[in-house]
Symmetry: C2
Subunit: 483 residues, 2 copies
């Protein structure tokens, strides 16, 4: 038997049973959160860890992400803004072909084909659909919630960041339930899209011309003090956006009935702010793209079949894994049986430190996505382990005004086996159904493992070049802010 | 030395040192929150505790308080709605004469005299002021924040509760800083009041005619999910009120410039909802008045010199004590030296279970009134000790959607020596200065002791009548809801 003169101080790491056993013997134990890295990633992690570019590149990536201030500057026709020709359609997430597309993506594409007057019925659209041109929204600096289908006639919000010069686009939110983005395509869906193009977009465009750019990060920062997290809860943001623009909207020289109808439409949909936040998020994340050596995630997006990510250090490459079905609360009459796997570009919110990462600011969200308030707070707290910074603008009152965890580091995800928490809407798996619920979903670990492997490959390539020291210094200095 | 065969189970009540000492000896201690009642109140508490009417009367009082649903039904001229004649002025809190009035009340009265064209300068108003007729707002079913001065020409919101039939009134909020209610009376103050009468009130009155009654409790319930507490933080409530009415406001047949100016004014003032909430609170609390035997508080209000309360069991009697200076945060350039003692009818919010009682819903408020988030949560939790119910409509997400503590019981305050927590604006002590800060204040214990004594006197009078059982039953049955 070992005897000690003083009580032992024990630190346990990843040994729950040992920790409990010591505690039961009244020993003082300091447990440390630690889990082994994902299996088979040790070499990749070692390669990235020795990449001399990473520290500076990640500092610059997260600086750009958190100091960009994208503003809403206008509304344009998607065809003009994104260079979309007739017959070209965008969808959410990583690239996918019609043959592999899930029900809600197919439903939304069929609806968009009818909306574009390329077919006069859903049946006629079904014959055309396998032939249309498909591309990911992200490939055109755009994002769209859920199916994320963008067609040339749709109006899109235009966001611009004056600090780093990025521009991004997002469609206008249609509301909940039977809407195109959840795969519905009935007449009411198409007629609403037509009304949005004919009435809503011109009213808002004219309002924005009178108002000038709208400071979306400021609205989101306030909304976080008001119980929003910017992804699944946007009641405060929508309210503040209305307050921001309404005095200018009143003065627009269009029929009063149109102005009132536009306001009633926005008022009737607490998620109207979501698409504005997403466009803002896309513009912010794009500021951090293409920084060699950076392991920071600049996009997370789902096409209903696969969940994909992009990083600042790997250009336009997608790293994907199978999309899972969220766990959550279902609308009356629906169950998990009706749910499509995870879908949409709205994970751009988590990418910039909002959404699931900011759930501690939004205790009321548990009534929409399930769980309890303590779990919501824990979700946010866990994300500090895999992020590079605390967002200086987005603060959480319940955590003593701590900034939200922002800037996901692929290597931290892999090393701690902690994946980003995403809260999301749930689409029906059959085309035409629409939204069936909302919940929380885990991204596939494979996407992060593949990204780490690719980053390791690029790090190894740099090491293999055995660059002279002077060249390395010069490459680093390119990452510093220009004066 | 005493020896025990088993470890002792010790319950300590109000004996902190004993509790700590036992704990240090590794004894298992269950501390119970208990404090002795306020000195000299034992007889009064005993008399009220044996009043056979109290249990039923308090149940009915809190039922009326928490199930009333006062709605905003219109805007009227105070003179017409409250029967105020020229030369009559109302003020916040319990009754007070000009000679005893504090600086901000005097300043507001001087400004109101000028606003009513009874004097053409503040100097001329000072000569008139000691002669004008003064009465408390509460005596006319009205409330007003801070000085609470109401004069005949001012527009007032009209609230009506369809469930119990009460009607209440409140002035329109002027904004922050140099405003009449904080005792300022400069030209800009008077001109703003004139504009509110000439432009704002007609726009809102016409909007309400188009819209119909506005469900204020529903807006406040949502606002509590969005970080408001309904007293010092009203950003969400103001936003939701604007959303509620704006589509009808657009259709009002008044000049577009007036509509836009009215909206910009409301948008520019996150406290616009406060006065709507106060009128709602007054109408709700008045539903519970005049229930013999009830020990529930139906009004708390301050006139800048005294803090007064009224109870359901003591009619229109005021029980008062000296108003204290709040502890809080001061605006740039001001300190506690500049502060007037506690002022205003806005404590009607705490009376109905909001304001300080709902601080756990509003973590961001600590940046306005001081303290930290955990203190805000503790303030709410402490109030459950002195209240009769949890409000079914006003829920706090951070406390697992628990209802706010509602219905202050005078005997619980006295028995536990726990006074209601109030958060409030702070007025400058000199007339003409305006707001200097915001903070948290304790009501005087004397007001609650005197109320308990008066309730005991009434209980004793009932006991002395040695009523036959039949009469007692009949009196009780009057308290049951009429069918």
């Amino acid at each position: 038997m070992m005897r000690l003169d003083e009580a032992p101080a024990v630190v346990t790491a990843g040994l729950g049973l040992f920790n409990d056993s010591l505690g039961a013997q009244a020993a003082e134990v300091t447990p440390v959160a630690w889990r082994p890295p994902l299996p088979g990633t040790e070499d990749a992690l070692a390669a990235v860890a020795t990449d001399p570019r990473t520290v500076v590149a990640n500092a610059e990536a997260v600086r750009r992400l958190t100091t960009s201030r994208p503003r809403l500057v206008g509304i344009e026709r998607a065809g003009d803004a994104l260079g979309l020709e007739r017959g070209e359609f965008l969808h959410a997430g990583p690239p996918i072909a019609w043959a592999d597309a899930s029900g809600p993506v197919r439903g939304a594409l069929l609806g968009a084909i009818v909306y574009e007057n390329m077919a006069d019925s859903v049946e006629a659209a079904e014959a055309l659909a396998p032939m249309v041109s498909l591309a990911p929204t992200h490939s055109r600096h755009a994002v769209g919630p859920m199916a994320g289908v963008v067609s040339p006639s749709m109006p899109v919000f235009v966001m611009h960041d004056d600090v780093f010069g990025s521009t991004a686009y997002c469609t206008l939110n249609e509301g909940l339930g039977k809407v195109l983005r959840f795969g519905a395509y009935s007449n009411e869906v198409i007629e609403r899209l037509q009304w949005m193009e004919r009435v809503l977009a011109p009213v808002l465009a004219a309002t924005l011309r009178r108002h000038g750019p709208v400071d979306l990060p400021s609205i989101l920062a306030q909304a976080l003090q008001m119980g929003d997290e910017g992804h699944n809860r946007n009641r405060a943001g929508t309210s503040l956006f209305i307050r921001e623009i309404v005095a200018d909207l009143i003065g627009v020289e269009l029929p009063t009935a149109d102005l009132a109808a536009a306001l009633r439409f926005i008022n009737g949909n607490d998620h109207f702010m979501l698409n504005l936040a997403m466009g803002m998020g896309k513009a912010a994340a794009d500021c951090a793209r293409d920084l060699p050596g950076s392991t920071m995630v600049v996009a997370m997006a789902r096409n209903g079949t696969e969940f994909g990510i992009q990083t600042a250090g790997t250009g336009d490459a997608w790293f994907t894994g199978p999309a899972e079905v969220p766990e959550g609360l279902y609308f009356s009459g629906f169950t998990a049986e009706d749910a499509n796997p995870d879908l949409g570009d709205s994970t751009i919110m988590e990418t910039v430190g909002l959404g699931g990462f900011a759930m501690a600011a939004a205790p009321a969200i548990v009534q929409f996505v399930g769980g309890d308030v303590s779990a919501a707070i824990e979700n946010t707290q866990r994300m500090y382990e895999i992020t590079l910074a605390e967002h200086p603008l987005y603060q959480i009152p319940a955590l003593g005004f701590r900034g939200t965890p922002a800037g996901i580091d692929v290597t931290l995800v892999v090393r701690t086996d902690t994946v980003p928490v995403v809260n999301t809407g749930i689409a029906g798996r059959e085309p035409g159904v629409g939204q069936v619920g909302a919940g929380i979903v885990d991204p596939p670990r494979q996407a992060f493992v593949d990204a780490a492997t690719a980053l390791a490959g690029r790090a190894q390539a740099v090491a293999d070049m055995t660059l002279p020291a002077a060249t390395l210094t010069s490459e680093k200095s390119e990452l510093l802010p220009s004066s």
